[in-house]
């Protein structure tokens, strides 16, 4: 699998990472090296193998629909970039 510059841009965009041109080059190289190495997995025939998302066969973990006290607003907001009128504030979203 070869990751070209376009792919690096695409992935960086999805991940909301800004990379300098040099970083993009290096990133592309690093990723390519890693992925070449990971191709070793293709040696394995996994056609009849189920993807294992959870290690143990546990199902139906639920909680009851009972109200628990919410946190005081100051606690939730205390680490925020900006706060006003009890809300988190960000620059206007571009739609």
């Amino acid at each position: 699998m070869n990751i070209d510059a376009k792919m690096v841009d695409y992935v960086a965009e999805l991940a909301k990472l800004r990379l300098s041109e040099e970083e993009k080059l290096r990133m592309g190289e690093d990723l390519n090296n890693i992925l070449v190495y990971m191709d070793i997995l293709n040696e394995l025939d996994t056609e009849n193998v189920q993807a294992m998302t959870h290690v143990f066969d546990v199902n139906n973990v639920f909680r009851a629909d009972e109200i628990k006290a919410s946190y005081p607003r100051e606690e939730i907001l205390k680490n925020a970039l900006a706060v006003e009128d009890g809300c988190f504030v960000v620059p206007k979203t571009v739609e």
């Binding site: 990472l17 992925l35 993807a51």
Partner: protein, 488 residues
């Protein structure tokens, strides 16, 4: 200073016998940390309220309301575990100054048991690393030789204990991050069965792989800590529905009938010959205790590292998306609009290794590649678990190295990414299969750097592993050896 070299068990005895008070211990501990931290950088944020806490705990002990195995014991907590006191930074610029509004479940349990948290321990940024050199707040140095790394990502947790800056510590292990620094620093560490210790409050890296576990001077102390933090938590949906571990009846020295499998394909090329020798020496000792050691071939060993990095990076890429500069964490000084805020916060807040793994993970999940990479890795994960199931049908435990080398020198590892990733070969499969493992000292190399080994077990076989480690430590002295700390 000598009290700081006691084990947890020994310290507890002295406290119970009123030979020493908790404030005395904590005072000595703080003074010691002041000297050692500039050298080894184990801690990031030290607890300003440690002495106050010590006084409270002392009163409770005297009143008879507190009697646990960790009452009054100074501990360190890895900085990716949320605490309301002290910051939680995950070794990253992205969380500089972050004050969590809540305590992790394991922290609550330790507090209830009367432990005194001395501070938050430094680590590889967001737990991504094997040397603790990617820590934004500086690398953590190995007390056995400060020119060498501590190991990672729980380097600070291991070094805090190894340098007598705490009696025990909490680390986290996603691909070996408790076991490898424990091995590099002559510590005993446990990566518990997935789900046996609550992850609520552990800043997620690889959600299906992460576990919190103890690091201490010996298995008895580590097991005592594990007993306190383990057990069902209704705030963690992956928490196994069972009570805390009870290790009371497995501190035995007899290993009669225990079958130990040694994967010969772990001990071929690529491993340091001194480590290989130490493993075989350990096998001999275990046989003396009555165990039966046998070499075998463990299937799937070459596939564990790639499967691990795909799965861990994929999950991490999603887990780390919440760091956007808005709700908490690093706030960029200048930005023009929302998009710019996201890009700036994440680009200035994350280090290069974190960005690399986010990119790798994002790629592995992206449209068109999901099947070939992420899905494929999940299937390989299933095969790896099967391989262990097969092995544990024959053996009570698998004896394995922890790392192919002893602690490397600072600055050597980050240049060769693949080699660094491959050094996780002995540890990652354990996380993929969700099984437990204990890492403990089994020797030293010519340069007096520690060598560690692992006992792996089937899910929820912690008692067997603790017993094996206890028996081994009852007839060996490696774990008693002490580093020459520069400061004293």
């Amino acid at each position: 200073m000598s009290i700081l070299k006691l084990s947890v068990k020994e310290l507890r005895k002295k406290i119970t016998n009123k030979e020493i008070s908790v404030p005395e211990v904590v005072k000595a501990q703080l003074a010691h940390i002041e000297k050692t931290n500039p050298l080894y950088n184990a801690y990031h944020d030290i607890n300003k309220n440690a002495l106050l806490r010590a006084e409270t705990v002392q009163k409770e002990i005297e009143a008879g309301t507190l009697d646990s195995a960790f009452a009054g014991v100074p501990v360190a907590v890895k900085d990716n575990i949320c605490t309301t006191e002290m910051t939680t930074t995950c070794g990253s610029k992205m969380l500089t100054g972050f004050h969590s509004p809540y305590n992790a479940t394991v922290v609550k349990r330790l507090q209830k048991a009367g432990a005194v948290i001395m501070g938050k321990a430094n680590m590889d940024e967001f737990a991504m690393g094997s040397t603790s050199e990617t820590c934004y707040y500086g690398a953590v140095k190995n007390p056995w030789n400060p020119e060498h790394v501590s190991g990672g990502s729980s380097g600070g947790s291991a070094v805090a204990v190894a340098s007598y800056g705490a009696f025990a510590s909490l680390g986290s292990d996603t691909g070996g991050s408790i076991r490898q620094p424990a091995a590099y620093c002559n510590m005993t560490g446990v990566k518990p069965t997935y789900g046996s210790v609550s992850r609520f409050g552990l800043v997620a890296y690889g959600s299906s792989l992460d576990q919190i576990g103890p690091i201490a001077h010996n298995i008895e102390d580590a097991a005592a800590m594990l007993a306190i933090i383990s057990g069902y938590d209704d705030q963690d949906s992956t928490s196994l529905k069972q009570g805390p571990f009870d290790f009371n009846d497995c501190l035995k020295e007899d290993l009669e009938g225990k079958k130990i499998g040694i994967p010969m394909n772990y001990l071929g090329e690529g491993i340091d010959p001194e480590i290989k020798a130490a493993i075989y020496e350990a096998a001999k000792k275990l046989s003396e205790l009555g165990a039966e050691c046998e070499e075998f071939i463990l299937p799937m060993v070459d596939y564990a590292v790639p499967a691990y990095y795909i799965i861990a990076s994929a999950e991490a890429s999603s887990n780390l998306s919440r760091f956007d500069g808005i709700k908490y964490g690093y706030h960029p000084k200048k930005f023009t609009d929302l998009e710019d805020l996201y890009l700036t916060a994440r680009s200035e807040g994350f280090g290069m290794e974190v960005k690399r793994r986010i990119m790798l993970g994002t790629f592995a999940l992206s449209s068109g590649y999901y099947d070939a990479y992420y899905q494929k890795a999940l299937k390989v994960k299933a095969l790896i678990k099967q391989a262990f199931d097969g092995a544990f049908a024959k053996y009570d435990t698998i004896l394995s190295p922890v790392a192919p080398t002893v602690a490397p020198k600072l600055g050597e590892s980050l240049n060769n990414l693949l080699q660094m990733y491959l050094s996780d070969i002995y540890t990652v499969s354990v996380n993929l299969a969700g099984i437990p493992a204990v890492s403990l000292p089994c020797g030293f190399n010519k340069e007096n750097l520690p060598i560690g080994m692992q006992f792996l077990g089937q899910a929820l076989s912690e008692k067997t592993l603790v017993q094996l480690a206890y028996a081994y430590q009852s007839i060996t002295e490696h774990h008693h050896k002490k580093p020459q700390l520069e400061v004293l």
